[in-house]
Amino acid sequence: MVSKENIIAWLEEVCDPEIPVLSLKDLGVLRQVDQINGQWIITITPTYSGCPAMKTMEVDIIKKLHEYGIENARVEHVLSPAWTTDWLSDSGRSKLREFGIAPPEDEVDKSVLFADPTIVPCPKCGSRETKMVSQFGSTACKAHYQCLSCQEPYDYFKCLK
């Protein structure tokens, strides 16, 4: 007899295709697991509306459950409550840093038009002397930064609230 806990534990093995050190649970994308009329329904929420990784995650979830012998599963999407970087787990944050991506910092309210860019410490050397190169980076969820101490260019997983 497969329990909901089994399913959740198996899904911990499914990772973000673009940030392979993060599981969907670390990322906060996995919202709910239910069983209705014998069918498992896995509910996920997108990080960004147009995130192309969502489709891959969906396929990966179904594939992973197949490996454990679950044939009858379906993935559903939910928009509300909207995903925020606060849902990134603490272990997710340290995994990001080890991977070379700076985890989200608490930022000032984005409704302020002329706010200075946030100080994001370098994930390599820890220096706070860094600069934002661009608010938009290699994926929808990241900005592009550079360390002025060790010169390392790096991705910053930007704060979304």
Binding site: S49, V78, L79, L113, Q135, F136, G137, S138, L160
Partner: protein, 251 residues
């Protein structure tokens, strides 16, 4: 009746996002610098993602089983309801950034107000999209200031872009008679309120950018009724080519 009104409302928003998203995608590989190539296509991706949510919902309201793909790829020009502003050609980088800023400054307060909508799905889409739109507005307003208050050449081009695009802005706030039923039902905000916030934002940014808001009263509209400029047909030819040439293809 209210379902029809809501369908049209959501379709208009979805088309605004889709058409501008497609326009921005044209910059892919042509950005003035690598970072902007990436930024503009990121924003395009967010807009197309928002269009997917909005068009899926429009399809659901219409009730004939159309999903976002059917609505994006299989309609004719006169069936699109985007405002004329969004189909205008990219022009130079100033044209693109001024167009983007005029739209972002409109979308942000619209989403803020739609979060309070009595329609749960519209509220959910707004809650999700607002977070992305804040980044878009910050990006476009910074560029408008940099270009306007930059060199003589960039100032001139940004002012020219504003002079050219200004005539299309009024249409963003146009309301139909059936929209009034949505406002009364607490589903949609009054566009007058949205416009007041928009005006405040653009005055602040254009003043910082040393750009003059045009004083002429020339107004162009038609997109909301399906009467488009000649530019939309070419855009759709590009957007729809694969589905038209190979119906129902998937990849």
């Amino acid at each position: 009746m209210k379902i029809d009104a809501l369908y049209n409302y959501v379709l208009r928003m979805g088309d605004d996002s889709l058409i501008l998203g497609q326009r921005l995608g044209e910059w892919c590989g042509h950005g003035p610098i690598l970072e902007e190539d990436i930024a503009v296509t990121n924003i395009s991706l967010d807009l197309i993602g928002q269009a997917m949510s909005l068009l899926d919902y429009a399809g659901e309201l219409e009730g004939t089983g159309k999903d976002h793909d059917a609505l994006a790829f299989l309609r004719f020009e006169h069936e699109y309801r985007n405002a004329l502003l969004l189909e205008q050609p990219n022009g130079d980088f100033a044209d693109t950034m001024v167009r983007q800023f005029l739209f972002d400054a409109f979308r942000k307060p619209l989403y803020e107000k739609l979060i309070g909508s009595s329609d749960a799905q519209l509220s959910a889409i707004a809650e999700k999209s607002l977070k992305e739109t804040r980044y878009h507005l910050k990006h476009s307003s910074e560029w408008v200031i940099r270009l306007g208050d930059g060199t003589e050449e960039s100032h001139e081009r940004a002012q020219k872009a504003l002079d050219n695009l200004w005539r299309y802005t009024d249409e963003l706030f146009s309301e139909t008679q059936e929209d009034e039923s949505l406002v009364l039902a607490g589903i949609a905000p009054s566009m007058k309120e949205v416009k007041a916030i928009w005006l405040e934002t653009i005055k602040t940014v254009f003043s910082e950018a040393t750009l003059q808001i045009p004083t002429n009263n020339l107004k162009f509209e038609g997109g909301r009724k399906g009467v488009h400029s000649e530019h939309l047909g070419y855009l759709l030819a590009d957007l729809q080519y694969m589905q038209r040439a190979y119906p129902n293809m998937k990849w």
